[in-house]
Symmetry: C2
Subunit: 152 residues, 2 copies
């Protein structure tokens, strides 16, 4: 499988795969003798995991730190002993702990925000009749060509 197909299969772009590779999230894949990258299904699975984690708010660097242990997240799609574990284990464990704390914080705060906004919304709804199509000026998504940035 070459990069275009692998990317499509994982729901992303070739550019992204090269980027993940460059940043250490993905092991450098086997190349054809002319230099083209070839990916396996396991690679695609890994990319999917990576995207999942990104969409959940981890950063590329976080995922790189975890990279030796990503297979734990997927039980059976990835090989078991691809990487020398023991050196990074404690750091990874620490990282998980910290991440958990951060996530708990996020959840707490978001929950509070949810309440705040909910109240706001209710108050506004009292004053304003529910928005109709023509009180809203075209709710197009307005995404410009070059829109990049964080996956949310």
């Amino acid at each position: 499988m070459r990069i275009g197909d692998a990317a499509a299969a994982a729901g992303t772009t070739p550019r992204a795969l090269r980027f993940y590779e460059q940043r250490g999230l993905l092991a450098p894949p086997i190349r054809t003798r002319t230099g083209q990258r070839t990916y396996s299904n396991a690679d695609v699975a890994r990319v999917k995991i990576i995207r999942e984690l990104l969409s959940l708010g981890l950063t590329v660097d976080d995922i790189a730190t975890l990279s030796a242990h990503l297979h734990l997240l997927d039980g059976d799609t990835l090989p078991e002993h691809t990487v020398p574990d023991h050196i990074r284990l404690p750091q990874a464990s620490e990282m998980f702990r910290r991440r958990l704390e951060i996530i708990d914080g996020h959840i707490t705060r978001l929950t509070r925000l949810r309440q705040l906004l909910s109240v706001c919304h209710a108050q506004l709804a009292e004053k304003a009749p529910p928005a109709t199509a023509d009180t809203l000026g075209r709710t197009s998504d307005g995404r410009a060509p070059g829109r990049a940035g964080t996956i949310r």
Copy 2:
């Protein structure tokens, strides 16, 4: 109160206040005749709210859209009728709705991630004895001078 004091009172920097002003989160404050900005306590309160919302994951643009209604979030610190409401009410209401959806999504996904990581952490903990100070290479925070970006 001049900008430095106001910023300190709100727990941020002059630069940030100017930035919020420029992006429409803060009304242009009164200036002395020599051009220096002067802020009231109400302004400081508003900045605190802005920071709160930022830390909860809203973007500057979101907050700008809400800016006419921020006082709803603070009941009694801000004046009641400073802005002509009616034009933007429906949009703001819509925005709240969308934001609520997004936040619910975040919460759901974070909760899932929490579980995943939690499992990972447990599995790692089995293999690795709990990290001690010297198995971790200096857990310094390593924050470089210019570390900017999103408030998390």
